[in-house]
Subunit: 473 residues, 2 copies
């Protein structure tokens, strides 16, 4: 056994024995090198090994943190693989509205919310930027930003991609009213009523609602909580149903939290390129990674302009500003024209403010803080679920984002749980709203993007009790 393996095993033991707990920061590489009397490169190798084993995670400029160890809660089961996914007429929107409406209540504990807490964002700094931006705004910008958006904002977005090694021209980027508009414009650009769209199962309910609204049919392909969509099932579905578009989330999927590896993204793009099916990529969570660096989108592997890449600032910087964007590849003209004939452009003050904010450079610091809060929250949530939920509960802790996709014990009705929880002032997102077939009847999605406090812990305890009561005798 090599020296770094010995060191890794020794640290792993400390984690298993509870000396190092989830959320704890590991000693710095320099400190460990000194205390264990090994070279810094040995320490680094040991840390990498522990990371590969999923026991610790690196957080940019903050060091390494324990992510696992001592968890008694089992991983989510493999999804039941359908050999041949069937076409489904989508008819779930009404259910989604009912569920969302019932939890739009003041002061509810927002575990069912789709947004992180607004308290996690740099509101004061954005406000200062907005105040100065608006006072010096070129009056003609209200006309010039029509359609594709503020030139500086688009340049700043392109610049961030470039720094990560992804080349998206500022000219390709179209600013939208949040990612949802971007996704809808993409869907409208490549489909007509009656067409078929390939989606993941489970999938974000807004995708189902868009598909239903436009009068499309869905093919649901199973997706795994850890590494995302099953590419083999996806290829079979493409061959059988010839969808006009695929709509996927490649990074920290909502609701699963799954993350496609770079290799898998490459294979995904090869697949859609082989079949010449456009891929609508919903990538709103990639800045919320807990690993070493932001995972690349599938767009990074696209050479033919088939990937329509969508993202926004709503989940990581400025909820309520309603500023998102799309890099629609070869469909740019269609998307731009659809935008012009539906909402013309996104709000100019919001665009100009975000452009200036990115330019002045506090964004990365904010993101580091946000990611740290979310990671710590996830650990607390998982511990509380372990403590309060009955046996038979499973989950896979995601490597980014702020959602936990939880399998309840067999037979527990998530819609009933949602009703009982709402009556106690707690919102959750029940599994069936994430599926055209209303499957996932014993799954729920919890949002851990809110500040941890006694009220949230009490809510999780209440939820655990409700789940226990709902278990079949």
């Amino acid at each position: 056994m090599k020296l770094y393996e010995q060191l890794a095993d020794s640290i792993a033991k400390s984690i298993q024995q509870g000396t190092l707990c989830r959320g704890d920061k590991l000693p710095s590489v320099r400190h460990t090198s000194f205390s264990r009397k090994v070279s810094t490169s040995t320490v680094l190798e040991a840390y990498y090994l522990l990371e590969a084993r999923g026991l610790i995670t690196a957080r940019e400029r903050s060091g390494y943190f324990v992510t696992s160890g001592g968890i008694s809660i089992p991983s989510s089961p493999e999804p039941a693989m359908q050999a041949d996914p069937e076409l489904t007429r989508v008819d779930v929107s009404e259910l989604v509205f009912q569920v969302l409406q019932s939890i739009r209540v003041k002061n509810i504990v927002p575990l069912g919310s789709a947004f992180p807490s607004p308290l996690l964002f740099p509101r004061a700094s954005l406000a200062r930027t907005m105040a100065s931006s608006i006072q010096t705004m070129d009056p003609w910008s209200s006309v010039d930003t029509l359609s594709t958006g503020d030139a500086n904002l688009r340049r700043q977005i392109a610049l961030r991609y470039m720094i990560d090694g992804l080349h998206i021209a500022a000219d390709e980027i179209i600013v939208t009213n949040g990612a949802l508009e971007a996704l809808n414009l993409c869907l409208m650009a490549v489909t007509r009523p009656g067409d078929t769209v390939l989606i993941e199962s489970p999938t974000f309910y807004a995708a189902l609602q868009s598909i239903e609204r436009i009068g499309l049919r869905a093919v649901e392909v199973p997706s795994h909580p850890k590494d995302g969509i099953d590419l083999e099932a996806m290829e079979r579905a493409i061959e059988r149903h010839r969808p006009q578009a695929c709509w996927l989330m490649t990074n920290f999927q909502n609701p699963l939290g799954s993350l496609l590896s770079a290799e898998k993204k490459q294979a995904l793009v090869a697949l859609i390129t082989k079949h010449q099916v456009p891929l609508i990529e919903d990538d709103v969570y990639s800045e919320l990674y807990f690993g070493e660096k932001r995972p690349m989108p599938a767009k990074a592997f696209d050479t033919e302009g088939l990937v329509m890449h969508c993202s926004s600032f709503s989940k990581c910087l400025a909820p309520g500003y309603r500023v998102g964007w799309v890099a629609p590849g070869r469909y740019a003209q269609s998307v731009e024209r659809l935008k012009l004939t539906t909402t013309i452009s996104a709000s100019a003050p919001a665009q100009i403010t975000l452009g200036r904010y990115l330019q002045k450079g506090g964004y990365d610091k904010h993101l580091r803080n946000l990611r740290h809060t979310l990671l710590v929250n996830q650990i607390k949530f998982v511990e509380a679920i372990e403590r309060y939920f009955p046996q038979g509960t499973c989950l896979t802790a995601p490597q980014g984002g702020y959602f936990l996709w939880i399998k309840l014990p067999d037979g527990v009705d998530a819609l009933k749980l949602h009703q009982l929880a709402a009556a106690q002032g707690i919102s959750i997102a029940p599994g069936p709203i994430f599926s055209a077939q209303r499957s996932f009847t014993d799954y729920i999605r919890l949002n851990y993007g809110h500040l941890w406090d006694a009220r949230i812990e009490a809510s999780l305890a209440t939820l655990g009790k409700l789940v226990s009561n709902l278990m079949p005798q």
Copy 2:
């Protein structure tokens, strides 16, 4: 002849002789009463009579202005009435995009623009309001304003209606990304692909583009430059084609500038109520009236919730903020849900800012100035057209808004004129983009909502020369 008629005739003579010119302010009622030695009520009666004859116009708190007299330019011809309007598959979007694209050029003289000059808006005051609003914004408002919009803004909009005697509950109002989104949501709420929509001819090209995008068919009903749509032809079209919706502009229609009288609006609502066809009312220009008070929308006569009333701040206060609204009557739930699944909500900072701005009360003063500028501009434009355009040119000066709909001499090709003008750095809006049938080949729309200067006058002179050159030999 009564005393007030004598007085009116005497003033009319001064106008005809050129003593009083268009744009001149009449002496105040008190001053005229003193100088002519008649009672103030006689002066008022005389002014009312002159107003009824179209020679002068009252401007709230500013007095009376000469609007007419000495104009040699004839009124627009009556529209050619089709006995039975035909269904049309709409296929004009590409032409519209080509025209719009060709005039999206820096420094072009923007006579073809759909927006007034951004220099006419209270930018500094809005900027101050935004700076203070954003700094005190409730962080949760980014979540609370989802969907229907900021509560204060909706209340302020309802309040303005109430002051004008129109009762629209704040709860009915849904804030949108400009009026265009409102109109599109309404159209989606009441139609499905293949359905038929009744529109005016000519009509705003964005309506044609929306109809085309959704896959609807259009029935075009003739509309007159002065008093708008022909209700008899409209009823025949409804009976024959059973449209699922009507989409009209009741106040200062784009491009005509036509204004439906209150009686005609009442008849319009009676007509759509009789046939139970929802009316999508595009009312973005009503604040830009030159008469005594804001003309009411058709919504004011609606008792069954069939009128879906849409408006915005883009043309009269804050272009680029992208804040509009809709009061969708009985279709409120459908519209709200469509909004949630397409763009979620309008930008929160823009909404909050406009709510506060309305609340603090500089809006009416700004509107008075804006209306005055537009009226004076209209007069200068009409005079210049009279001077520079060849005989055979006709127009009807509208009583509000900022568009002139100009009939060129027979046989002058508006699309050719558009190309020649663009080559000289002047944009215009050619007639065929306002019609599903690409009619109005010898009409153009000019925007007089830009600050009058030598450059604009020179552009009108150039246009006049181009028109002359295009006249058939």
